[in-house]
Amino acid sequence: MKATFITLLLALSLPLGLVAAADAHATSLDSVAEVAELGAHPTAHEIAEHAEAVLKHSEAVAKAEGNKLTKIANKFGVTWPTLIAQMLNFCLVAFVLYKFAVKPIAATLDERQQKIADGLQYAEEMKTQLAEAERERAEKIKQAAIDAQKILTESREQSKEMIEQKTQEAAAQAEAIIRKASEATELERQKMLSDVRQEVARLVVATSSKVLSRDLSDSEKQTFSDSAAKELAGTAS
């Protein structure tokens, strides 16, 4: 805004500058034309004389120009006191405008521009953060999928191992049960055989006792007893 105001001032003073420049240009063109009128190979003295003449001519031209400007100014009603007063008025108005209108407006505009810039920056940051968050989310989802797959694989392996282990345990238990049953059957068989043997032996002994008691005569019994007594005496000694 400040720059705009300065540009405006420059634009207002530009026509006066252009008029002055056009006059100076016309004067220099006249001097060049006079130099061109000299011979092909002028001497130093000629050049000095010519320069002095040009200088005088220039002074004359300047005086004539001053008179011309004064005539124009008078013709258009431009006088120094009015011009100075107008310039002062212009500067005062410009200062007041700058102080009480342009400056607050510029401050407000700057503040708004700053806010907009901040908002844009914030939006940019948010966009970046959103992109970052999106990327992190995608990474987390990917990682979660990998972890889930890993957990699933481990679970499958564990379940497989557990099934295998349980199968082995069941087989071992079944084998142990079969072995115990076999042992129990064998023990039962042995016990039955032992019982049968005992019963047979008991029957044999009982039968033999009865038969011997009935069939042995008294003399035979005494003979057996004597021999048994001698046997005991012989064995004991």
Binding site: R197, A201, S208, K221, Q222, S225, D226, A229, K230, L232
Partner: protein
């Protein structure tokens, strides 16, 4: 408890006093009993019971009970007495006891020791070996 030990010791000494050449005799037992009667021990009845118990045991150790279903020759009986006297180092007297369950043969008991040469015993051992 202390009193019981003393009584037991006394009973054993009385049994030793009842022996004549290592053999319990009726005469020596009578003398011991007469002496006890004179002394009149405080626990007279207990001493007598204990003495009787140890006397039975001593007599059992000096007696070989020969169980047999029928008669036994004197020669066999003598051989048993000689043999067991030699084994136990004291005079052992053989006494015959009828036992028809033995079928044939003899069974000798000396104290807690048992020697079996009977037919019933052999059959019983046979049955035990079979089973």
């Amino acid at each position: 408890m202390k009193r019981d030990k003393k009584i037991i010791r006394l009973a054993k000494k009385l049994v030793e006093l009842s022996k004549d050449n290592g053999v319990v005799t009726v005469a020596r037992v009578g003398e011991v009993l007469a002496g006890l009667k004179q002394v009149q021990h405080r626990h007279h009845l207990t001493v007598l019971k204990s003495f009787l118990n140890y006397l039975h045991r001593e007599i059992a150790l000096q007696t070989a009970v020969v169980s047999t279903p029928g008669a036994l020759s004197g020669e066999a009986l003598k051989a048993i007495e000689v043999t067991y006297s030699k084994i136990y180092g004291r005079p052992v007297t053989a006494v015959i006891k009828q036992d028809t369950s033995l079928i044939a043969g003899v069974r000798v008991r000396v104290g807690d020791d048992l020697y079996d040469a009977s037919l019933a015993g052999r059959l019983q051992r046979l049955a035990e070996n079979v089973s």
